[in-house]
């Protein structure tokens, strides 16, 4: 059965290691914070200038000067630091963030990603997404495998304007965990109960399937 949004987040969380600095995008990536394994320490980076983002505040502790990149009021954890946008993107561009998790409209087998603009619809801007995909060695994209009409978003070549070229290596959808290498998607794991054939059917890109593909543990 296809994973729920929370199950996708759970699977992503398994990729986190103790002591990681992590930037989580809006949507499913945000949920990952709820599934960090017990006893594991992670510091969340928010690109508007906070390392060590905490949970939402209470009515008593809410502070308009303390927001996250989604403009939500948040708190800071013990050992946090505040800094400018230039410093924040020095961290990101300089490759100091251990893991970035973000959503996408499309990903292709060259590792390119489209996530910020649909021509004909209102353009709101790329925010920090282009810097994040250019700066991180270690990026996980979370997305749905196909749109509601069954049209694949796992493509040979992205059709929408790119956020970044040749930068994505790992993608987790409601059906599959895939790695991009040598110009193709490689199927690593499938959602529990989902068959390789079902994944293949919804994948427009070249999909390499080697040996038995294990089920995800979520």
């Amino acid at each position: 059965m296809a994973l729920t949004r929370d199950q996708i987040a759970m699977r992503v969380a398994q990729e986190i290691q103790d002591g990681y600095y992590v930037n989580l995008g809006i949507g499913i990536p945000t949920l990952v914070a709820n599934y960090i394994p017990e006893g594991m320490e992670v510091m969340l980076q928010s690109e508007n200038g906070l390392l060590g983002m905490g949970e939402f505040p209470t009515e008593e502790t809410i502070d308009p000067d303390l927001i996250n990149a989604g403009k939500q009021t948040v708190t800071a954890v013990t050992g946090a630091a505040y800094f400018s946008s230039a410093e924040s993107f020095a961290m990101i561009r300089g490759g100091h963030v251990d893991l970035t998790v973000l959503g996408a409209f499309e990903v292709d087998q060259e590792g390119s990603i489209a996530s910020w603009m649909i021509p004909g619809k209102l353009v709101k801007g790329m925010g920090g997404a282009m810097d994040l995909v250019a700066g991180a060695e270690n990026i996980i994209v979370t997305m749905t495998h196909a749109n509601k009409h069954g049209v694949s978003k796992i493509l040979k070549k992205c059709s929408l304007p790119l956020t970044g070229a040749n930068c994505i290596k790992r993608v987790i959808t409601e059906l599959a965990f895939m790695e991009i290498k040598d110009g193709a998607f490689h199927l690593l794991e499938r959602a529990p109960g989902v068959t390789v054939e079902e994944i293949q059917a919804l994948t427009e890109a070249d999909l390499v399937i080697e040996g038995d593909i294990p089920e995800m543990k979520v």
Binding site: F56, L66, I67, A86, G127, G128, M130, D131, A165
Partner: protein, 237 residues
């Protein structure tokens, strides 16, 4: 003003010399850390044909949203301009040009402008629309885009505290773009919550040294919240 006392007491004085067709930087991320009174004063002055450099464009009726209402901006340079219906209208009608710039590149372009760096290479945006018409180059196996720096006639900055000499400290994530913009304005005007005497701020923890600042004014701030998110308490749950 004499010596290093940069305090002004009226918004008229704070924005003296501000005219049509100027380039103006405005600090803030969303509505967090924006110089509310200075934005208001530009709105009151009615200057038009402005090139506005700001990460966001405010919301309808607040922040830079007010400049949009009065059609004061002819070119907007920012990374994320959503959350504003009027913005869409001006964009689609062609009344306003919009130059979308990745957030980190925007921050670095402003820092570079203040620091006398006319251009730098970054991997951000390579292979995307952002690189259209720009020089690109492979350096040690990776592709980069050449980005020119940004400066402005006026930088409108919001800080937490200033001393009379213009040394600034910011508070939490209200810092954001403000420190870089303070360095990149020909005239940098800073609106603060509190003005203290020189010597009252610890010289070891100054975020922006006074050399970058021309004028300081004490403001009062609404600090509107865009996304009020609260943790469910036990009583509420």
């Amino acid at each position: 003003m004499s010596g290093f006392n940069k305090v002004v007491t009226s918004y008229e004085e704070a924005l003296a010399g501000f005219t049509d067709n100027m380039t103006v930087m405005v600090g803030g991320f969303g509505l967090c850390g924006i110089p509310e009174g200075l934005i208001e004063q530009v709105n009151k002055l009615g200057a038009t044909g402005l090139t506005a450099i700001s990460n966001n464009a405010g919301v309808d009726g607040f922040g830079l949203g007010k400049w949009l209402e009065k059609r004061q901006i002819s070119t907007m340079i920012g990374s994320y301009v959503g959350e504003n219906e009027l913005f869409e209208k001006l964009l689609l009608s062609g009344e306003m040009e919009v130059i979308l710039t990745p957030q980190g590149t925007l921050a670095e372009k402003i820092r570079a402008g203040g620091a006398g760096i006319p251009a730098f290479f970054t991997a951000t945006g390579y292979g995307t629309q952002v690189a259209d018409g720009k020089e690109t180059r492979e350096i040690e196996g990776r592709n980069y885009v050449l980005e020119p720096s940004l400066t402005a006639d006026f930088a409108l900055v919001k800080a937490w505290k200033a001393d009379t000499m213009g040394n600034l400290i910011f508070r939490k994530t209200a810092m954001n773009f403000n420190p870089m913009m303070a360095t990149a304005g020909k005239i940098t005007v800073v609106e603060v919550e509190e003005i203290v005497e020189a010597g009252d701020l610890d010289p070891n923890y100054i975020h922006t040294p006074g050399i970058y600042v021309q004028r300081i004014i004490k403001g009062s701030f609404e600090k509107r919240i865009e996304q009020r998110t609260i943790k469910p308490t036990n009583e509420q749950a």
